[in-house]
């Protein structure tokens, strides 16, 4: 329980006990007329003064708690019940009539609550009962909307359909199957709404439309006090403070229930002492002992556990592995796109001459590094047109004018084979297909003069025919620009087609590194061989089940002592389970010879 929730509960307990016992404890004191002390200011005897009959205001504020809260709860109950009936209408009265009720609710929800309250107050007349009905009815549309949404979500589920087919009556479906499943969010919202209703009620009584003399609630006390605000302000502010405290009690309690545990985790402990090594000369990308740690609820997740590799100018390097092997995190780390609280450490991490272990904006990477992301549907900013999003690179990094940068964007869109680039550049991303967006994303990388393209699963989100086109485009771009490529993929065949060299990752480590052409035939690590065997080809016997790798990837929060693949490896022995193998001569496996 968070401190907010504790405060809410504590406050609510106080408010409820004052409401329960207030009239008993202070009821007499609140009605004693003291003609010698009319409209007195605060004193030791009367903490916040007296009213025009000399009655003690503090006692009256305490006594008023019961009426104020009872009225608020009554109105909330009316809203809740009506809201449930209206919101469950599609279940209760059938689809067509239900739809009519739903659209009526949608019209009503658009009106501010206070306006509806005033409308109903006219009909029900001035007074406590009329006001409770008015506030209750006015709150119903909002509950109906909420209830409708919740019911719609629940009634999609199988057990509701099953109950209906079994001929269970509508009312029973609602009572037995729907309501129990939406009760929790409804109660949370009702609690918070009760806080709001309390304030609305105070407002109504304050206007003179709610509780009438000789009864009094907090709003009525405020109304009486406002006239004397010059003389003694506490008479108006006292009941006001009570209203706010009670409202807060309901709000905070509701919020404590509603708020999902929204905790962020930080990484405890100091950084590992990292050695500093010099980058491999001439390499476009040089990484030594890259470690990426992500804070998580069950302790830090070691997504990347020390990998070392280089990419030479013009070279295409592929990174393959299962989901969770750390390959995408590696891509983001070498692109310098991971932010705290994710921790990136390396002995060195140099991309196109920029040292990413050093702080700074690394502005030069804006033109020398191109990044292509996995999901082209979400990687463009929906609020801006495509052309300007490309042009931004040139305007920002190459000092081009708006017009010249836009012209270059059109030219780059043409270069990535987008038809009618002038028209397309003026369109929003949502008007592009997925394949076109991925082309445009590659075009964005070509606004500068990229020396390295990092492509993180660039074809995963696309359908098969488009995948081929995007891979061909990447190959073409590399031919034209001479850029190197770091291609992240779970697809062994894509990587063998496109890349010169392949890194196989498992559980945050590189387990094998070999030329792409040797991947299918000369792989030595059992994991690589299993990965290759899992890819069906034309000779795969379709009558037999497809090959899979047995077992599950390791829990990334654990750091196994031995080889991470050992639990799934048919060759593993006790040595494998005890001692982690180093990457030697391209493979990290004790049993690579067997």
């Amino acid at each position: 329980m968070r401190p907010v929730g504790v405060a809410g509960f504590g406050l609510l307990a106080v408010v409820v006990s004052v409401a329960a016992f207030g009239p008993v404890l202070w009821g007499d004191q609140a009605t004693v007329v003291d003609t010698g002390n009319l409209l007195a200011g605060p004193s030791a005897e009367h903490w916040i003064g007296t009213d025009n009959l000399g009655r003690d205001l503090f006692a009256r504020v305490l006594v008023a708690a019961r009426l104020s809260i009872l009225l608020a709860l009554a109105a909330t109950a009316i809203s809740l019940v009506l809201g449930i009936i209206l919101g469950a209408a599609p279940i209760l009265v059938g689809r067509r009539l239900g739809r009519l009720i739903t659209s009526a609710v949608n019209v009503l929800v658009a009106f501010p609550g206070l306006l509806l309250v005033l409308f109903f107050a006219v009909i029900f007349g001035v007074g406590a009962r009329g006001a409770a009905l008015a506030v209750g009815l006015a709150g119903a549309p909002a509950f109906a909307r909420l209830c409708h949404t919740l019911v719609a979500a629940v009634s999609e589920r199988d057990y509701i359909a099953a109950a209906r087919i079994a001929g269970v009556s509508r009312l029973r479906v609602l009572r037995r199957h729907v309501l129990p499943n939406i009760a929790e969010p409804l109660i949370v919202n009702a609690t918070m709404a009760a806080g709001g209703v309390l304030l609305t009620f105070a407002g109504l009584s304050f206007l003179g439309l709610g509780v009438q003399a000789p009864s009094y609630d907090w709003g009525k006390l405020m109304q009486d006090g406002l006239n004397g605000i010059y003389v003694h302000p506490l008479a108006a502010l006292g009941p006001g403070i009570a209203v706010v405290l009670a409202g807060l009690a309901f709000n905070l309690t509701g919020e404590a229930f509603a708020a999902a545990p929204n905790r962020t985790f930080s990484l405890g402990g100091p950084r590992d002492p990292a050695g500093v090594t010099a980058p491999v000369p001439g390499a476009i990308l040089s990484v030594d002992d890259l470690r990426v740690t992500i804070p998580g609820p069950a302790g830090p997740i070691h997504a990347v556990r020390g990998i070392t590799f280089t990419v030479e100018p013009g070279e295409a390097v592929g990174v393959v592995g299962e989901s969770g092997s750390g390959k995408s995190v590696t891509a983001l780390a070498v692109a310098g796109l991971l932010e705290p609280p994710v921790r990136v450490e390396a002995n060195h991490l140099v991309v196109a001459g920029e040292d990413l272990t050093a702080a700074g904006a690394h502005r030069r990477l804006g033109t020398s590094l191109a990044v292509v992301f996995q999901d082209p549907m979400t990687s463009f900013n929906p609020a801006h047109r495509v052309g300007p999003q490309l042009a931004e690179v040139s305007r920002f990094h190459q000092g081009m004018s708006r017009k010249a940068a836009f012209a270059r964007a059109v030219d780059r869109l043409r270069a990535v084979r987008i038809g009618e680039p002038e028209r397309r550049a003026r369109q929003y991303p949502f008007e592009f297909s997925g394949g076109m967006r991925q082309r445009a994303m590659i075009g964005m990388g070509l606004m500068g003069n990229p020396r390295l393209i990092i492509a993180d699963e660039p074809t995963t989100a696309l359908d098969v025919t488009v995948q081929r086109q995007i891979l061909e485009l990447l190959a073409e771009v590399r031919r034209d620009t001479g850029a190197a490529l770091l291609l992240i993929s779970h697809d062994v065949s894509v990587v063998t087609d496109v890349c010169d060299r392949v890194l196989v990752m498992y559980a945050g480590r590189v387990v094998e590194e070999l030329p792409a052409k040797d991947l299918r035939t000369l792989a030595r690590h059992p994991y690589t061989r299993a990965l290759v065997a899992a890819v069906p080809d034309l000779e795969t016997d379709l009558d037999r089940p497809l090959a899979v790798i047995p077992g599950l990837p390791v829990d990334p929060t654990l750091s196994p002592a031995g080889c991470a693949f050992a639990p799934r490896c048919p060759l593993a022995d006790d040595h494998c389970r005890a001692v982690a193998p180093e990457l030697l001569a391209g493979v990290a496996c004790h049993r690579s010879g067997s």
């Binding site: 019209v107 501010p112 009909i123 003179g208 405020m222 302000p233 502010l237 904006a361 994303m441």
Partner: protein
């Protein structure tokens, strides 16, 4: 899909206009029915138990309450199209005139408070989002959400009372009540704006936090733009949509909220007249005022939808 571009705007306009018309009809009909839903005899209630029977009858005849309901409805609609709202029972003045006289004061208050709350909430929300993103600035976050919850829980009229006490009674900086010079606007506008500003800044922050985790923000960072450009050019426009939706709701609730604040500050607007006319059971005046408030809210909602569609073209295509 067809031609999404060509058919987008006419279809959006048609759908939105249809919804506006239906809602207008609901408001008009509701305000017509209001007087008929009052239990008992509304005219007798308005004039008091001592009024002579023939006077009550004369008033009923004048209000057309003796005709069949459908005929009254037709007459009501007919008069409405001519801009005729009837006459007040108590003052005998045309309702339209009273409203025309009082509406500007209310509108000024609502618009000023709305602009102020947006002007305050957006920078605060964006700033807090940047400071507190990804679990940073825990203390700032706690202070922000704490004050926010408390401030948002204080109703506007109570804020008004508090402000009057602090800045008018205690220090005489601003006038206590009334609508005179520019300084008389300060307290009512503040009382109205502070609550919505708190709510709105919280929405802006939450939206910004969500937007800043989006893939396209990573794309923007991959372009190595300055943080200011990433936040203001790439993130903020995407957070505006939700902000504006809530802002529109706030504006319409501000219009209604003026009722309470006007009563605190004796502001000569619609809000103080609707309350006195409800208490006095002056039904024609109540009817007219409710109609004006309702239509005002509907026009604001429509305006917000149009602005949203211009800012975010996708919202014009999707479901209403």
């Amino acid at each position: 899909m067809g031609h999404p571009l060509k058919s987008r705007w006419p279809r959006f306009a048609l759908r939105r206009a249809g919804r506006l018309l239906v809602s207008l009809w609901v408001v008009v009909t509701a305000s017509f029915l209001m007087i008929h839903l009052v239990p008992g005899d509304p005219v007798r209630a308005a004039l008091g138990p001592t009024a002579p029977a023939d006077l009550v009858l004369a008033h009923k005849e004048e209000l057309g309450l003796l005709d069949p309901l459908w005929q009254q409805y037709a007459a009501f609609l007919g008069r409405l199209f001519q801009g005729e709202l009837g006459a007040s029972i108590s003052t005998r003045l045309p309702v339209g005139e009273t409203i025309a006289q009082r509406l500007p004061a209310t509108a000024e208050l609502a618009v000023a408070a709305f602009l102020l709350s947006v002007a305050v909430a957006v920078p605060i929300g964006v700033g807090m989002a940047v400071i507190t993103r990804r679990g940073r600035g825990r203390r700032a976050e706690l202070a922000f959400t704490g004050t926010n919850v408390v401030v948002a829980a204080i109703p506007d009229f109570l804020l008004g009372v508090g402000l009057v006490y602090l800045l008018a009674v205690q220090t005489n900086v601003f006038p206590v009540a009334g609508r005179a010079g520019l300084d008389s606007y300060v307290l009512p506008v503040l009382a109205l704006a502070i609550g919505p500003a708190a709510v709105l800044s919280r929405i802006v922050r939450v939206e910004m936090l969500a937007v800043m985790e989006a893939d396209y923000i990573r794309t923007a960072r991959a372009k190595r733009l300055t943080p200011a450009r990433v936040h203001l050019v790439h993130a903020l426009p995407n957070a505006v949509t939700a902000t504006l939706t809530i802002g529109g709701l706030l504006l319409s609730s501000l219009v209604a909220g003026t009722v309470l604040v006007e009563n605190v500050f004796a502001w000569p607007g619609l809000g103080s007249s609707i309350v006195s006319s409800i208490v006095a059971k002056d039904y024609p005046l109540v009817q007219g005022t409710v109609l004006v408030y309702g239509v005002g809210v509907l026009l604001i909602n429509t305006l917000v939808d149009v602005v949203l569609a211009l800012l975010d073209p996708r919202s014009a295509i999707g479901e209403s």
